[in-house]
């Protein structure tokens, strides 16, 4: 496997401990948001349900801190963490889950179709592997326009078995595009253990066969993610082309809200929850280093709580879009001549 060498002159800085406290705060916001959304979804408040990313917060926060706001991110069906880490407003994300007009997609998209082009989120995506395709195109667009922008596409271990993912990776290699493909390997695709249906030693090694720097990263360690992404970003901005990251992580909850499969052992779940919680880990580390007092942690928690409560209230107070607009803006042609209906 083509291990990514540390670049000679690195143009990114390690976060200070104070910054890491902020990152912790972001991870806590995501965690509380997801817990709330999961609970609301169980209560039937969120049409269609959600795929919570609880346990995978470090991936999103670590990656986004290695990016500029102008960089493009495209996600998967499990992308609330990507959206919030990319800076989308929890209020407007929650409103979108509710299907309200104040949602990031006016209630048209829902959980799997969150987007904000000002903030560089080019959509979560309902089709496994679909987000990576959009990111591929964004990387091409950036290159064609001569922009310094790079693009990141997320998908899961399940996505690594779709053909489209490998077409996308190959084209990025062939065209030396500034694309970072990130496989969030949480071991399962719905209830299927990916190891049982995925040939090869690892997804990262599979990717290496396509001729790009590829590495496995501990997905529960926000700094490891940040570093690996930063290296990939540096290569992409330097014009040397795409990179691949396989991030080893775990979702603490079921595939979607309410899923109660018994495909994972209690021990396995406990192992990850108890000893590989990305929030606990960072918190312990900062506390150990004297950078995080119990009061500060409480502050972060309180803030997260308030943000999530506000978001929920915002969503609940928002209205649905005017139903008479439900079929508007399909294309410039949808009101063409006889096509008023």
């Amino acid at each position: 496997m083509d291990k990514a060498d540390p670049p000679s002159a690195q143009d990114w800085d390690f976060p200070s401990e104070e910054e890491l406290v902020d990152w912790l705060g972001e991870m806590i916001v995501i965690r509380r948001f997801e817990e709330q959304a999961d609970a609301l979804s169980l209560k039937g408040m969120i049409p269609g349900g959600i795929h919570p990313a609880i346990g995978q917060e470090a991936v999103a926060v670590g990656v986004m801190h290695a990016l500029q706001q102008s960089d493009v991110v495209a996600g998967s069906h499990r992308s609330h963490h990507h959206a919030l880490a990319k800076g989308l407003s929890p209020k407007r994300v929650m409103a979108e889950l509710y299907g309200r007009s104040s949602g990031v997609a006016g209630g048209r998209g829902g959980s799997m179709h969150l987007a904000d082009f000002d903030l560089g989120l080019w959509g979560s995506n309902g089709i496994v592997g679909g987000g990576l395709g959009i990111a591929l195109g964004a990387a091409l667009g950036a290159k064609q326009l001569g922009l310094d922008r790079i693009a990141v596409g997320f998908f899961g271990d399940g996505g690594a078995n779709t053909g489209r993912v490998w077409e996308f990776v190959n084209l990025a290699v062939a065209w030396t595009l500034p694309l970072i493909s990130i496989c969030e390997n949480n071991l399962y695709a719905v209830e299927t253990e990916s190891a049982a249906v995925t040939g090869g030693v690892s997804v990262a090694e599979r990717a290496a066969g396509f001729g790009l720097p590829s590495e496995q990263v501990d997905g529960q360690d926000v700094l490891a993610i940040f570093e690996a992404t930063s290296r990939a970003v540096e290569r992409a901005r330097a014009g040397t082309g795409p990179s691949f990251l396989e991030v080893l992580t775990y979702r603490f909850k079921g595939h979607n809200t309410g899923e109660v499969g018994r495909y994972r052992s209690d021990e396995e779940i406990a192992l990850w929850r108890d000893s590989r919680d990305p929030i606990e880990r960072l918190s312990a580390r900062l506390q150990g280093a004297g950078a995080l007092s119990p009061e500060r942690l409480l502050e972060l928690e309180t803030r997260a709580h308030d943000i999530v409560q506000d978001a929920t209230k915002f969503a609940e107070d928002s209205k649905c879009s005017d139903p008479s607009t439900a079929a508007d803006n399909v294309s410039v042609w949808n009101n063409w001549k006889g096509h008023a209906q």
């Binding site: 049409p47 269609g48 979108e96 299907g99 309200r100 997609a105 209630g107 048209r108 998209g109 829902g110 959980s111 799997m112 179709h113 995506n125 309902g126 089709i127 496994v128 679909g130 399940g158 996505g159 078995n161 779709t162 053909g163 489209r164 695709a189 719905v190 209830e191 299927t192 990916s194 049982a196 249906v197 995925t198 499969g261 018994r262 495909y263 649905c320 879009s321 139903p323 008479s324 439900a326 079929a327 399909v330 949808n334 096509h339 209906q341």
Partner: protein, 320 residues
Amino acid sequence: MSYTAAFQQGVREEMLLNDSIFIVGTDLYERGGHWAQAKGLGPEFGRNRVKDTPISEAAMVAAGVGAAMSGTRPIIDLNFIDFAYGAMDEIANQAAKIRYMWGRPVPLLIRATSGVALAGPQHNNSMEMLFASIPGLAVVTPATPRDVKGLVKSALRSEDPVIFLMHKKLTGVKGEVGGSNDLVPIGSAHRARQGQDVTIISHSFGTVTAMEAAATLSKSGIEADVIDLRTIYPLDEEAVLASVRRTGRVVILDEAPRFGSLANQVAAIILDKAFWYLDEGIKVITAPQSPVPHSPELVAAIVPSEVDVVAAARALVASR
């Protein structure tokens, strides 16, 4: 028995009768599929006949095509029909054309959940006409547990590929089912209600709406003949035309976007074969030319309702 359980039961009975039937899909063995449509088959028949796959729609269908050519009877479960977009070549250029090119039968059943409901734009494509328009494929869209069971049994005894579409909104609907020898032939519509004033044609969940509309109409003395198509291709033209000849007035209800819809296709067939029986133009009720939004209120705004059907039927009868 539920619509979903009827599928399971039909498949199970046929699997007991025919060793060469096996089922392939994601999360089937333990979970029985996303909709519980194969619940229990895993433990009963074992991993050799209930096969979990990676998320590889093209490979699933390709494997099914070649296995069907081998003389087995694979059921490929695509979960949501929308994911068939990732296997279109395997369906349209391989499965559908092999008998034509080489005389080799491809007894392949592709099951998926379809229909307009929640889950947003990418999981609510109306794809029945896409498949029905491809020569070589049959497409069935049952509306009741009885038809699910009867049709899946027919499909598993048929020689050619069948796309088996089960509507999201019918998943939990309960009803009686037939016994182990009760087959519903592919290509046969069901006259779900008898009436002489107006024909209402629909299929799948649309039949539920049509029956509700018929009940409402009946209260004001309008008796509707309700035709549940059940099969999209080969369409039961005789059943449609017989009803049109009886009533001379036609409402077609379809939740798909209008352009390219089954509703328009059926209208064209009636125009072609029963033009002189029409007392009036046909009322075609469909969704607008739009993706399906996430918000339930917006979905409700685009999906045709009982009210639309009742109004259309009344208008036709009034202009007698």
